[in-house]
């Protein structure tokens, strides 16, 4: 068996496959279809200091080889999350990565502080949600704002901090460098690309929020390119995501230099997708006589 384990910001994962935030809840629902112990980690749905109601419906729609969503970060708040979701995930031998959202610097810090005594392995900070007006993406599109919030969060965080980057920027490497220089322990990308669909029969927007985040295979080439550029711009590890449907897609990200990969929209197409991707990466390594996944990480150069 080839070695599949990887180290991300000092935390060892049994394999590089995690779930993408917001597509997997806290694992309860998909746990009915797959063995969560097989995953390198579960990245939970974004959680804020207090409950958020989210956006009006329709919140999702299908697009060619993808989908738009504008959930609006509905979440039950950090207290319920700590009481219910963390104990659930603790029953499994998989890393717990908590995705954090907020409307202000203070919101983020409150959640991060609340999590400092909780048995979670890593924090992923969502400063790139295109679907909420305040906070979220406001921090993710300006390198100075990103630097400041990363620095502030690092002061309060006990676990390693992954900053999740938005693709809705001109130069992803500028954002990556800002987060790294502020102390981010790792980066994850890409969040969704802002999009719009119009329902010509109803003569209105397909989503109540008008715009939504585009995900799925439609964005994969953009994501692979951005991961490739980011890996070359910073020295912290990167979690790559965007349209990964099968092991071959995940391997593109790894060869571009990603340490881990996250599976998102694919879960909706096949509730066993993440587990199949773990199996598929293993089979690929075996069949090519690659003894360690690290041997192919970032193997694509210039």
């Amino acid at each position: 068996m080839s070695n599949m384990s990887v180290t991300l910001a000092g935390v060892e994962l049994k394999n590089p496959v995690v779930t993408a935030s917001g597509t997997f809840g806290s694992g309860q629902e998909y746990g009915e279809f797959m063995d969560l112990n097989r995953l390198g980690g579960v990245v939970t749905k974004g959680v804020a200091n207090v409950p958020w109601t989210g956006n009006p419906v329709p919140r999702v729609c299908e697009t060619p080889s993808g989908m738009l969503n504008a959930i609006g970060l509905q979440n039950p708040g950090i207290d319920v999350f700590c009481e219910r979701d963390i104990p659930f995930l603790r029953k499994y031998d998989t890393r717990i990565i908590v995705n954090v959202c907020g409307r202000s610097e203070q919101d983020y810090c409150e959640v991060v502080e609340r999590l400092s005594d909780e048995p979670v392995d890593l924090l992923e900070i969502n400063v790139s949600c295109p679907n909420v007006r305040e906070g979220g993406i406001a921090f993710g599109q300006d390198p100075k704002a990103l630097f400041r919030i990363t620095q502030e969060i690092k002061k309060h965080a006990k676990q390693p901090v992954i900053m999740k980057l938005s693709p809705n920027v001109t130069d992803i490497t500028e954002m990556a460098r800002a987060a790294e220089s502020a102390g981010a322990d790792a980066l994850s990308l890409i969040n969704t690309l802002t999009g719009m669909k119009i329902d010509i029969n109803r003569r209105t927007f397909a989503l109540a929020n008008r715009t939504g985040g585009l995900s799925g295979p439609a964005i994969r080439p953009v994501a692979v390119r951005m991961v490739y550029e980011t890996v070359r711009a910073v020295s912290v590890p990167v979690i790559g995501m965007g349209g990964i449907m099968k092991a071959e897609d995940a391997l593109e990200f790894i060869m571009a230099g990603a340490t881990c990969v996250a599976v998102g929209t694919a879960n909706f197409h096949d509730p066993n997708a993440a587990e199949k991707i773990v199996d598929g990466i293993g089979a690929f390594l075996e069949s090519r006589n690659i003894s360690d996944i690290r041997d192919i990480r970032g193997i694509v150069q210039e």
């Binding site: 997997f24 009915e32 279809f33 419906v57 708040g77 319920v80 879960n267 197409h269 509730p271 066993n272």
Partner: protein, 262 residues
């Protein structure tokens, strides 16, 4: 247990212009399914990622078959692609999903089953399940624009009232017009159909203090409660979400009418 099953198409026929009647071999789903639940059907086109939620119109546990009755919503849609498939073709189906109608709650009572348009099919399995219980007095109130698809199958198991918008069959008007003109009394109601019908049925039942359960629809992605795509507004703070929202795919699609805001 819900699962992703590779089902085989047994037969598919068009029963009305644009409405298709599909039987699937789905042993595991049939085994676990109940009236008012739905399945999510994946198309065979890999560029259409999301499954189509479709209610169970009939469940045959003995032969391990399920029946789906669906409308093709337009040209170049997933349902149009599905409608072209023949017997023998495999389809990936996720199910059974959602909670279903609370059949126990209406046992040995008089119950009205309101179905409107493409909300009629799930009422067929519901009527069959309730009718198997001889003490329960079932009346299906079926609302159509025109015509009366499936009405004969309902007549095999329960009493039937019909309304049509054009007056071509039964009472001209809505399902409530059909009930009022019949003067029928009942103890409880189940309903599935367009939002305007659900709202009217909810108001009608609440005004006369009749318990009512309604089956809701929304755009879905995961279909199992993970993505929070398919919520409806709830009167009280929901036990799972901790806000005034419930997941239609997981906590529903059937809700007590007084629990939800329409």
């Amino acid at each position: 247990m819900k699962q992703l099953e590779n089902c085989r198409i047994i037969s598919q026929t068009q029963i009305e212009p644009g409405i298709f009647d599909l039987w699937l071999e789905a042993g595991a789903i049939a085994d676990a399914a109940a009236a008012g639940q739905f399945v999510s059907v994946y198309t065979r086109d890999p560029s259409r990622l999301l499954p189509r939620p479709v209610s169970l119109a009939q469940i045959d546990r003995e032969s391990g078959r399920i029946r789906l009755i669906y409308r093709v919503t337009g040209p170049d849609t997933g349902t149009e692609q599905l409608s072209k498939l023949h017997a023998g073709v495999p389809l990936r189906v996720l199910g059974p999903l959602g909670n279903g109608f609370p059949l126990q709650e209406v046992r040995n009572k008089k119950v009205l089953l309101f179905g409107g348009g493409i909300g009629i099919p799930p009422m067929l399995e519901t009527a069959r399940a309730l009718a198997a219980d001889h003490g329960t007095e079932v009346t299906a109130v079926l609302g159509y624009r025109t015509g009366s698809f499936l009405a004969d199958e309902f007549r095999e198991v329960c009493h039937v009232l019909i309304s049509t918008e054009d007056g071509s069959v039964g009472t001209r008007g809505t399902v409530l017009d059909a009930v009022r003109s019949d003067g029928r009394q009942a103890d409880a109601a189940f309903a599935c159909g367009p939002r305007a019908m659900l709202r009217a049925v909810k108001e009608y039942c609440e005004a006369i203090n009749m318990p009512c359960w309604i089956s809701m629809e929304e755009r879905m992605a995961c279909g199992i409660g993970a993505c929070l795509g398919c919520v409806c507004e709830t009167k009280e703070v929901d036990g799972h979400s901790h806000v005034h929202n419930a997941r239609i795919c997981k906590d529903g699609p059937v809700f007590v009418s007084t629990e939800v805001v329409l």
